[in-house]
Amino acid sequence: MSPTWVQLAYLAAALCFVLALKGLSTPKYARAGNLLGAAGMALAVVTAYVHGAVHNGLLILVAVAAGVAVGIPAARSVKMTAIPQMVALFNGVGGAAAALVALTEFLEVPDGSVLFQVATALTVLIGSVSFSGSVVTFLKLQEIMTTRPVLLPAGQMVGIGVAAASALLALSVVLSGSGLLLVLLALAGLALGVLFVLPVGGADVPIAISLLNAFTGLAVAASGYVLANTLLIVAGTLVGASGTILTRLMAQAMGRPLTNILFGAFKPTTAAAQTDEQRTVRSGTVEDVAILLGYAHSVLVVPGYGLAVAQGQHAARELASVLEQRGITVHYGIHPVAGRMPGHMNVLLAEADVPYEQLKELDDVNPGIGSVDVVLVVGANDVVNPGARDEPSSPIYGMPIFDVDRAKAVVFMKRSMRPGFAGVDNSLLYNPKTTMLFGDAKESLTKLLAAVKHV
């Protein structure tokens, strides 16, 4: 058992973590909460070092310095558009660290109690799942691999098989105390994580990240049992529990039950919904759109990830102010899951310094959308897809959308006819009210800005 001063320091750190999470859920105290969490972490780490680094003190310092040297530049240099995949990676290395801690402790204390063995097996399994699952979500968000659901032949059977094998291996580890079996369990966990995330597609990936985040929390809590350390149990459990709630809240923002998001791709979908009929698309020139905008009374801009990637926020803002000078009302419609994660778009627009007063949420926009003259959809796709409302067979069915098809006219700025992040075809593109303006969002906006000035 650790001396009292160590226990007290851990208690103070745990309290900091609770207050940090509390602060992070209120806009006013979010930043202070995060800093308090960091302070608690510093206290805990210094305490552990002073009290626990009996051997290898210098080596530990070197490893910490290396971690700082990698972590801080990575976190500082990552673009705001790439934040979700960075969060996924940080989560993954945390899971791997938990698995390694349990594995090492197992080597140091080979003949532990049954409870100890159970906790070890759980930590290694959950940590490995979290690591490999996070790596796959990173690859998807970075678009290194396809963002669509990947369905292996008999994927569901393979998944169940690997899960069963993992459970058996975990049981054998507990009974035999074999290090070899524990390594095999880690490998099974890695396979399970990959199989778990592969079928999750597009806009649902962030929800998988949130769930894996909760998993890592649980792995850390389980490692707390391995080491009989209350701080690890408290902090890990806090993250596990709050992460589970957050995952549910995110799923609610998407308007779908969690099981649908995680296992929906396994169900046979009626892919026949897309008929062979030749659907026509109306494509317009910059001048056409400029005239449309110049004589409108009200314009709604619906920005998406595409706008942020093209760095077109500033052009969009200038266009908005030119329109306002002509007496046109301009609002931005911000969908809760626009961007790559819930709330991500707000971060991106805050970076571009778009005035808060012009940002409107779904419930503010949809009731009056029929009187909007022109909706300008810039680099968004899924959040205006009427299929989410009208087609029960659509993978995004049930997600709340902007009902822009009820506005008087829609201008769709897109690079190509390629479907959006969720990989779902959008019937709005073929709507007679819709004008397509193909091209890079920033270029199109800049040209549009010049053209509007001449109208």
């Binding site: 979010a30 290898n56 801690v101």
Partner: protein
Amino acid sequence: MIDLLTIFVLAVFVGFEVVSKVSTILHTPLMSGANAIHGVILVGAILITGRAEHALEITLGLAAVFLATVNVVGGFVVTDRMLEMFKGHRAVKAVKVESNGHKETGT
């Protein structure tokens, strides 16, 4: 044993309670902040490496220390950057108003 279980159960309820109401704007920063907090596994990594005596254990332990440190510092820094944007936004506007004022008095 029962003590640890008690702590676990209580922490579950605290975890549920703390984030039960959070606006969508804060979903991403909250996830990222929680992510940094589970980096507390660094404490465990330091403790096991601190008593490791064999080369294999030391190597594995140091790998865990390294990864956990990346998780901790990366997590807190990324979260702070996101939250800084929200705050910086208002600050920038305030500065602009101020600089406009200066221009008016200047010209």
